[in-house]
Symmetry: C2
């Protein structure tokens, strides 16, 4: 049995922990979250059979009482916030799979923090892996896998279109649904708004393509303005209001565009899907017409990684290193 501890019991952390609890090859030894300390874990996970476990106030407190092989970390999107949470775990020999978006591919963008975490993990013979559905899977790992069938990849264009009406309400708020254009612009000015991880995805793709490290990355972010009313969702959107947001990224090397990423996450997005176009030899085009679900996808991808981290070389690893496959085995 793989012993798993959950750190952070927000919606994603709870979704992962519930799946760990259900998995016949894994044991959920407990969960820690300072904001939820003392709350009954079963209630937060929407499951039963946890034997009355309560949420621990800290992961140290939890691990002192009951050891785990892997901590699932869902407690922040930004490396500067989470690095200090991770170092003691890694040095103590506990591997970590994290949904922190900036951990999905940190070396090109946060080289100093990445080097320190790599040293911490090696010191503890532990593995640190950042993953999730995006960044970590649908716009990068899946695309890199497909690229392997090409002799040469000159450029790649990945599009992710999400109908926010099918996602949970906090996600709809996160993308700005129902805001006025002015309120959206104000949130933009406040910073740290929108999807985190496009640069991480772009550099993972660029490394898989073998591009030299001198790269120029430009990103854009802006509102998707509703042309018609969307009344059916949890957050009604009127024409002229913000339906969601769109973000793009272009990565150039030596002045040539090599990676282009586009995301649109809006209430009423008419044709949600994930699509890849590879300008290569041969050219390839792939579409996931159903799209790949966000929160559920992240939970599934994390679960798939849990049985695999133990076989990776100690240190900071990325999804490029992971032979991902579903976690349930015969």
């Amino acid at each position: 049995m793989l012993r798993i501890a959950q750190m952070g019991v927000g919606p994603i952390g709870a979704a992962i922990a519930a799946r760990v609890r259900r998995h016949p090859g894994m044991t959920l030894v407990g969960a820690a979250d300072p904001a939820l300390a003392g709350r009954p874990l079963d209630e937060l996970l929407g499951v039963t059979g946890g034997g009355g476990l309560a949420v621990a106030p800290s992961i140290d407190d939890l691990l002192r009482r009951t050891p785990a092989e892997v901590v699932v970390h869902c407690a922040g999107s930004y490396l500067d916030v989470v690095a200090d949470q991770l170092s003691p775990l890694l040095r103590g020999g506990v591997s970590v799979v994290s949904t922190c978006e900036e951990l999905a591919y940190p070396v090109p963008l946060h080289p100093d923090a990445a080097r320190r975490l790599d040293e911490d993990a090696r010191a503890g013979s532990a593995v640190l892996l950042g993953t999730g559905v995006n960044p970590g899977f649908v716009m990068d790992k899946l695309v890199v896998t497909l690229m392997s069938a090409c002799d040469e990849v000159r450029a790649v264009h990945v599009t992710r279109l999400v109908d926010a009406a099918t996602r949970r309400v906090p996600f709809q708020r996160k993308v700005g649904a129902g805001l006025t254009r002015e309120a959206f612009e104000e949130r933009l000015r406040q910073g740290r708004f929108g999807h985190v991880g496009l640069p991480e995805t772009a550099h993972m793709l660029a490394d898989a393509m073998g591009l030299p490290p001198a790269r120029e990355v430009r990103t854009t972010i802006g509102p998707v303005i509703a042309e018609r009313a969307h009344e059916s969702g949890a957050i009604p959107v009127q024409p002229g209001q913000v339906a969601g947001l769109e973000q793009s990224l272009v990565l150039e090397a030596a002045g040539v565009q090599r990676v282009r990423l586009e995301m649109r996450m809006a209430v009423g997005e008419p044709e949600p899907r994930d699509a890849v176009v590879i300008d290569g030899s041969p050219p390839l085009a792939m579409t996931v017409s159903t799209g790949v679900a966000g929160d559920e996808g992240t939970a599934a991808v994390v679960l798939a990684c849990l049985p695999l981290v133990g076989a990776l070389e100690p240190g900071l690893r990325t999804m490029l290193d992971v032979p991902i496959r579903p976690p349930w085995r015969g």
Copy 2:
């Protein structure tokens, strides 16, 4: 520099060896093929710069003169034919990446041969990996990767439709293009006809889905009869003649259909593509609308595996173990 020796210089072997020659991180130390012994290697590969190397009569002869870390083996589709070629290499400490279709996933179908080869590889601290575009990638590895975003996979349906007119002439002959229905049926009776590898693909998918080993597999094979003339290809096909072949496989566990594979490879196939439908939570549908090329795809996938085999645990490995990514690195 990764030192590669090529064993078997048919169309696929030559395509791979030419790519190895061009790759800046790999050295092609030579090639062996009893049927082509003494022929100038450059001429067979359609390249220059090989320093006048000739094809060696045997891989032993070649490796005795110039060592290699990995042998690329392209000398047969059937395990009973190739196993004895591979054992001495593996015991001698040379890893092998093979395009032998039955090696793509041999444990469920050829357990004794698989166990012996695994022992041979472990004895030599070498890795044996069977791969290619199909089996090995488009109907299995790529599908397993996508499955990782699902909580649960109840069933999977993979379709591969190839317009044989876009493939080389031997491939068109291989699928029976231009035959009468009677001649096609006669070739079927002679056996070992058609695509090899659907059962390997099915068991790889089933293992990734965690299905119990008690599985029932049924396959079908039959002609695709041309409804109209296809004059433009290398092999003209008249209405009523065979345009190609179609094969299918159904894998059941406990009486429930879990894997369905369909291939149609015919001159004039109207909508060539690769498609996956996953009946899971959530359901996913993915289409590679360009299709994934056959020979070029196999060459690319083999090349992608070459830098990765050294990091795998010694023994018989499969594509489930390989974090595949393009082989060129920055």
